[in-house]
């Protein structure tokens, strides 16, 4: 009984918070609302991390009636997402379009030479940062990051196979960064079409390790088929609830503390079109805040062990500038630039 009461109180608190969000900005500035359906462009294929998050947002918006106009989700995955971004660039004057990004907002123009940049869009908000974890098969004797790195160092060059999603994208960039710490021994990087497939290839021992996002491999971890060695973040995860019988996300050491000083996270952010006015951007920021206030969102974040960092405005733009420089540097070192 007490628990029901508490959860009811929480629901009311959330409702109040949501209505506060609704009214506060309305007083502060002129209000804008979409006059036609809003299209959410996913610059990636169906079933991947960005797709899951976008469809989840669509579901939350619909379930809690957060917007009068419908939110339509379409996939424009061609050319490693270039298709979706070029469409955003081409419709600079249509504020009824938003897009969700993954790292390909930086890597695709650098790696393929497609003519666009994040500055061709208007940043709305950073929703979260997606983590990367170094995974191995639990049948293998590598209990810690150190064991694995030592094995790679001791092995032949290119003897160890790293599976990942796509080519010259985030997974291969992380791999290239790890290679700088393995005493000159390189991995054989094997690109697959999607993160789920990568995790299964690791379970089947067709590759030796992966840098899957948490949500892509959590099922296999819980079943005891995969072992997480370390997380590529500055701090350990903040989620302390048990995921497997013994371990929580917070029990996975950072790569840095395990002697592999590599950090990398992937942006999950929302952008709208370039010429959107401040009140239009404010509408989307407000909408996203409402989405993030729902219990559904909190559950989704925990399941995927996301780093919940929310940013908007100048902070977000500053972050984007830094991240772009970082990607350019990493890709240049690895020789992934289209011009190289």
């Amino acid at each position: 009984m007490i628990r029901t009461g508490a959860s009811k109180a929480r629901t009311i608190a959330i409702a109040l918070a949501a209505s506060a969000c609704l009214t506060a900005p309305a007083l502060a500035q002129q209000k804008w609302e979409p006059s036609k359906p809003v299209t959410l462009v996913i610059p990636a294929g169906t079933g991947g991390g960005a797709d899951q998050m976008a469809r989840f947002i669509q579901g939350v918006v619909q379930k809690h009636s957060l917007m009068k106009q419908p939110l339509i989700v379409i996939n424009k995955a061609g050319g490693a997402g270039a298709e979706g971004f070029l469409e955003m660039k081409a419709s600079a004057n249509d504020p009824h379009k938003i897009t969700i990004t993954l790292s390909n907002v930086f890597t695709t123009p650098l790696g393929t030479g497609s003519p666009f940049n994040w500055k061709d869009m208007k940043p709305v908000a950073m929703l979260a940062l997606d983590q990367f974890i170094l995974w191995t098969n639990s049948e293998k004797p590598y209990k810690t990051t150190k064991d694995y790195v030592e094995a790679v160092k001791a092995g032949e060059d290119r003897q160890f196979k790293m599976g990942g999603t796509g080519s010259k994208q985030e997974d291969q960039i992380v791999t290239a960064a790890v290679e700088q710490q393995t005493g000159g021994k390189k991995f054989t990087y094997v690109p697959y079409a999607g993160g789920g497939q990568v995790a299964v290839q690791l379970v089947g021992n067709h590759v030796d390790s992966t840098v899957n996002n948490p949500i892509e491999a959590v099922g296999q971890w819980r079943a005891g088929q995969l072992r997480p060695l370390c997380i590529f973040d500055a701090q350990r995860s903040t989620y302390t609830a048990k995921v497997t019988e013994k371990e929580a996300w917070s029990d996975i050491p950072t790569c840095k503390e395990s002697g592999l000083p590599v950090e990398y996270q992937m942006l999950r952010g929302i952008f709208t079109t370039k010429n959107a006015k401040p009140e239009q951007v404010a509408f989307y920021v407000d909408l996203l805040k409402k989405v993030m206030a729902t219990p559904d969102w909190k559950e989704f974040m925990e399941k995927g062990a996301f780093n919940q960092t929310f940013m908007t405005g100048p902070d977000f733009e500053k972050w984007l500038t830094t991240a772009e420089a970082l990607h350019s540097d990493l890709m240049k070192k690895a020789g992934f630039l289209a011009t190289q």
């Binding site: 379930k63 050319g79 030479g113 994208q169 697959y192 789920g196 299964v200 079943a223």
Partner: protein, 504 residues
């Protein structure tokens, strides 16, 4: 017999008036989606996914999988009636289905296709019910080399299918490979053959090509033949179901072979489209009436449909047990599972028993409901052929254009469809076979990726394809299939030489 107990528990969940109603709604929507080219099962499920977020997960998945069954059934209808595959996996159904319609046997072809779909699906569901854990382990054995071996076998089982010059078959296949390689190269992450055109970033989409080559191409040919459909005068008789079913027991071996091929392709995951091609190729090779394939043989409709539906159904197994989708539709359903708060993967069967067994029970029920629904509608579907060509042709072009647009929400694809239409007409006139082109277009880039992944893993050693019994066996079988026509020709030549020698 834990499975049986669990299954009956599942039936208890699935057998409610509400769930049966959801099945009927889902299958009706699915058939409509399947009939409209371009608006595939994956799109249909994706559009309706948000509607299900407020439902309990079991009801939601019953609705969505019913749409999927409906789309699998519905894809065959336009293939048979108009030579336009509503779904990629019904391309192979056109090879004999449409000639049957032209011979005035559209109703038999439809009944055969629907019944075959049903048999394939039930076979696959039985497999899921009793062998899920074993089968899931088998799927784990598939690395890049094994995937390539399977794709190679698909191509090999298809060689020699086209009548006429083998060089024309090879030319057609090579054109398919060339078209498949446009766009992003997944292995190096660079763009190929886009010539700086943004429209080409996405490559040539299989569905756009198929709608153009078959649909528009067929309309152009019909226009030349004097604005009428052959076989339109066929009499409608109500005993089509019984008449067709009487012919089916003789094809039990074809059913069995296609079921096995289909389940295998669905699980590995090769998908329903290659399964249907492979099913057709194998049946043509091994059937007694194989020489008649392509002229309107019922067995040529049954073989690909059984395989496609078996593959489509068993594609749900790797999704549930491994978290990898066996088909694009399964990929969208996978997203749905996460939103409903279920984690697909090895523990789903342990932790969410009610959901999993409710879903499996609904697979049996959904297919039974679906079969009854589509069979009752056969006379109605067949009657569409009686509508005058001058009315139905513009409607078909219109629907094709919408379909091509829907694939990628791009106007460019509609123009592409028309270009492919002209190409289809030219192929027809010059007697080049279309199927090899289509097969290469759908499987070309997958086969290329698998081959190159395998080469990366083995550091360039081709021996990797014979590195274990599984992949070596499939490759050897593939080579045998590829050279079968040559071997057979050699044997006949030798035996006739023998005969000549003896006579002399």
């Amino acid at each position: 017999m834990d499975e049986l107990n669990a299954l009956f528990g599942g039936f208890a969940v699935a057998l409610s008036a509400y769930h049966i109603l959801l099945m009927v709604i889902g299958i009706t929507l699915g058939v409509v989606i399947g009939v409209l080219p371009g608006l595939g099962g994956a799109n249909g499920v994706a559009i309706l996914l948000p509607l299900t977020f407020t439902m309990p997960p079991t009801s939601a998945i019953i609705l969505l999988t019913s749409i999927y069954w409906g789309a699998l059934f519905g894809g065959a209808i336009t293939s048979i009636l108009f030579n336009i595959p509503g779904e990629p996996w019904s391309v192979a159904t056109t090879f004999d289905g449409h000639p049957m319609a032209q011979n005035g046997k559209a109703d038999e072809a439809l009944v055969g296709a629907f019944t075959a779909s049903f048999v394939g699906a039930i076979f696959a569901v039985c497999l899921i019910t009793f062998l899920a854990p074993v089968v899931a382990k088998f799927a784990l054995k598939f690395g890049p080399a094994e995937f390539f071996a399977v794709q190679f076998l698909t191509f090999a089982s298809f060689i020699g299918m086209g009548r006429g010059s083998p060089f024309k078959t090879i030319a057609s296949m090579c054109l398919g490979f060339a078209l498949a390689s446009v766009g992003l190269d997944g292995v190096t992450g660079t763009l190929r053959m886009t010539f700086g055109q943004d429209e080409l970033l996405n490559g040539f989409k299989f569905l756009v090509a198929v709608i153009g080559l078959f649909g528009i191409g067929e309309i152009l040919c019909s226009m030349e033949d004097g604005l009428k459909f052959n076989g339109a005068a066929a009499k409608l008789r109500m005993d089509a179901v019984i008449r067709t079913w009487k012919q089916l027991p003789a094809m039990s071996m074809t059913f069995l072979r296609s079921c096995i091929v289909g389940c295998w392709m669905g699980i590995t995951p090769g998908g329903a489209t290659p399964a249907s091609f492979m099913g057709y190729g194998i049946a043509k090779r091994l059937s007694k009436r194989g020489d008649n394939f392509g002229k309107g043989e019922l067995e040529g409709v049954v073989a690909p449909e059984t395989a496609a539906h078996a593959a489509g159904t068993s594609a749900l197994l790797p999704m549930l047990t491994l978290g990898i989708p066996g088909s694009p539709t399964a990929a969208v359903l996978l997203g749905g599972l996460l939103i409903w708060g279920l984690q697909p993967g090895p523990l789903l069967f342990v932790e969410q028993k009610d959901f999993v067994w409710g879903l499996i029970a609904s697979m049996y029920l959904g297919n039974v409901v679906g079969l009854v629904m589509v069979l009752t509608c056969v006379p109605f579907f067949a009657a569409i052929l009686r509508v005058p060509f001058s009315i139905i042709a513009p409607a078909i072009v219109f629907v094709c254009a919408i379909g091509a647009f829907t694939v990628n929400n791009a106007m460019f694809d509609v123009w592409m469809m028309l270009v492919f239409g002209v190409l289809g007409y030219l192929f027809n006139k010059l007697r080049y076979p279309l199927p090899p082109l289509v097969l290469a277009l759908v499987l070309g880039d997958q086969a290329e990726s698998s081959f190159r992944q395998a080469m990366l893993v083995s550091q360039g050693n081709v021996g990797v394809f014979w590195s274990n019994w599984l992949c070596g066996g499939i490759m050897t079988l593939g080579l045998l299939m590829a050279f079968w026509p040559a071997l057979q020709a050699l044997r006949t030549k030798l035996s006739s030489n023998d005969a000549v020698a003896r006579a002399a």
